[in-house]
Symmetry: C2
Subunit: 412 residues, 2 copies
């Protein structure tokens, strides 16, 4: 006999007012499938050994024999655990002073070029040490969990030296995050130019970063890295076995979309400045467009052309961009509210975008992002009998409980 | 000897990283005083019998003899309990279906004139009964408390018949809210025109509403009530002893600002469409401009000209506008984030606007909205060592605990 005491065993969530999940199979979803959510009323979900084994209506629930943990879902609705596919959760310090200056009229780009901005966080992050960074990721992960995030990606990129970049990737992995090496986030002060820094990053950091991270990312933007530099960095990362992602078109349209497509990136993220050609090209490609409306709100910048992307047939995901400078926001429910009020997405499109499509960006759409048999039992229970409160209840604390791998990991 | 067991006794909040309060005395504050917040580091607060008796630095804390409840404020900051001076918290049902339609492209005004909108909530509210409404206000009050709101105003206005309007005012008072009679919110379906409805409201509802409410409010807007009708309603309410407020300039500039000034209203609320003349007039008056950025966000409408109002010298407050149709948002911390990112207010201006200035709109600035001796011991403890996280932590659950009248009433 196997000792099962340590395993998650069986979990039955019963009497749910609603159970809502992106429908169909496969990923990433595009319109119209993107907006098709299956809703079961008076529903249950049964999980075993961390996986979903059944979902259905209470009327069809057979007898469940043996030991099983039960959750009473009366008055609640269940959605898949939220997947945050774009965060910068590994940082020390904060940028509340900069936030205050910006409220008083300074622009993000002004502050960035004045050595405030990202480099301020680089200083604090380098000083924190690996234990401090692990503790920071743990704290941020706890915040995310309260907001219903059960799977998160996090990027390095506030170290920009070998030791801190690698420590960041280890800290993220240690705290259950999916690590992305954002070696090309900014040029650190000890380098005179981006080219020399990239030489160092590729030669001295990449070999070990490629063992720790799943993907690589680059900030392709005026004042950061140009398209040629981004290509060189990404090609080296691809050759080292990493999946590829890009920050692109946040402030200016700088060639990120064509580069992402040509190089076979999993995603291109931001897209606030993407024009019609970029929309058409992205829609015709396999690259997912990751939309970050909390960042646009935080910086009072234009929102990305989400409706146009979806209508053109692009696969889109939603993420928080959680970071201390341009989006101090870990809440995917708030991002869903912004998606429906600012991006003109429907609640169903928003749900698919931060579950199954976000899981697709992270290469996990076969096991995360749906409430269906065979998927991991990552579940958010909402304190509302209509699942659309996820987006409707703006800034509300809608999350009542969170299940990860068949275990309750947070409860209000 | 008096039996003190039932009283709040003494409370000491010690070792606070920061204690932040609007400075000075008097209210409402205007710029520059609006943006002046006193911050004490390594601070304490002592309350007795529900009132603040001392605030100071830990180094100056004398011995506190006798029975006293202590709260360890390590790593936390304290701000005054938040005051929400504009909510519609007395309603039944929701408008999540309408929210979904709007996300798909329908405008709020379209839905309003199609009989969705306010009148949908009127139907649900009339059907709820007084017990149902009391339960609804209790639930909403619980949500507000978790977000740090210790004092809230709530309006009737979803009854629009005698019985439901009066039941709404009683339900609000029963649950600790400050009731405002919004008798002129919309024209109910049983009346052919606004004039006939106002005749009814003034003759049949006002006499009793004036005993239950502190203030009266009107929705002065195209499709609701015009300036002449608003004047007639407000004058009757004033004659019955009520303080006056107005919803004005939300979609169109319709004379609300001059009317508010002429009639001596406490506030004019919304102001998204207010132009330069209105800004100048408001700044030269005693009327407080109540800004509702969550509503503008929820409806994807232009933000009110907050910076111009403050710079011109107007007294402004911030509120949620919590209601099921145009702002399903009870979070003043989110409103503060919007104030700093969308309205160009500083964190200090935002804090004053949703504490002391909001208390001023409710006629309570002598006892609510500051952390100072003689004020009621309503305190929000933030889970951050810098109080500005109130606005900086977008959508975050920053509230760690809430004290009302010297008693802890909520703790995370």
């Amino acid at each position: 006999m196997t000792d099962r005491a340590a395993g998650p065993g069986r979990l039955l969530v019963r009497d749910l007012a609603q159970l809502a999940t992106p429908s169909g199979s496969g990923a990433p979803l595009r319109s119209p499938a993107l907006g098709e959510v299956d809703v079961l009323e008076d529903a249950y979900l049964l999980a075993e050994d961390g996986l979903i084994v059944e979902v259905g209506r209470m009327a069809d629930l057979g007898s469940v024999d043996g030991e099983v943990e039960e959750i009473d879902g009366h008055g609640m609705s269940a959605i898949p655990g939220l997947v945050d596919c774009h965060t910068h959760a590994c940082f020390a310090g904060d940028r509340v002073a900069e936030f205050t200056l910006r409220a008083g009229g300074a622009s993000y780009e002004d502050l960035h070029s004045a050595g405030s901005g990202i480099l301020a966080t680089v200083g604090a992050t380098r000083a924190a040490g690996e234990a401090g960074l692990t503790e920071a990721v743990r704290r941020h992960r706890g915040w995310m969990l309260r907001s219903g995030t059960t799977t998160f990606e996090a990027k390095s990129g506030y170290g920009l030296d070998r030791e801190t970049e690698l420590a960041s990737l280890r800290a993220i992995e240690q705290e259950g995050g999916i690590p992305t090496w954002l070696g090309a986030h900014a040029v650190p002060p000890e380098f005179d130019d981006a080219g020399a820094y990239l030489d160092f990053a590729i030669e001295d950091v990449l070999p070990e970063a490629a063992r720790l991270a799943e993907a690589a990312d680059v900030f392709l933007e005026r004042g950061a890295f140009g398209a040629g530099q981004a290509r060189r960095y990404l090609e080296a990362c691809r050759d080292a076995g990493l999946k590829l992602r890009l920050h692109g078109d946040q402030f200016t349209e700088s060639g990120a979309v064509p580069l992402a497509i040509e190089i076979g990136a999993r995603s291109v993220d931001h897209l606030e400045a993407t024009g019609d050609d970029g929309i058409r090209a992205l829609a015709a490609s396999d690259v997912v467009g990751v939309l970050l409306p909390a960042s646009a709100l935080f910086l009072a910048r234009p929102m990305p052309p989400a409706r146009a992307l979806v209508d053109a047939g692009a696969a889109v995901a939603l993420a928080t961009d959680f970071n201390p400078g341009s989006a101090f926001c870990e809440s995917l429910p708030l991002v869903c509210s912004l998606a429906c009020t600012q991006l003109r997405l429907t609640p169903s499109e928003a749900l698919s975008a931060c579950t199954i499509n976000a899981a697709s960006v992270l290469g996990r759409a076969d096991r995360k992002g749906r409430l269906a048999p065979g998927y991991e039992a990552d579940i958010v229970l909402l304190d509302a009998s209509d699942w659309r409160y996820l987006a409707y209840h703006l800034g509300g604390s809608v999350v009542a409980a969170v299940v990860q791998g068949g275990r309750v990991t947070w409860r209000r």
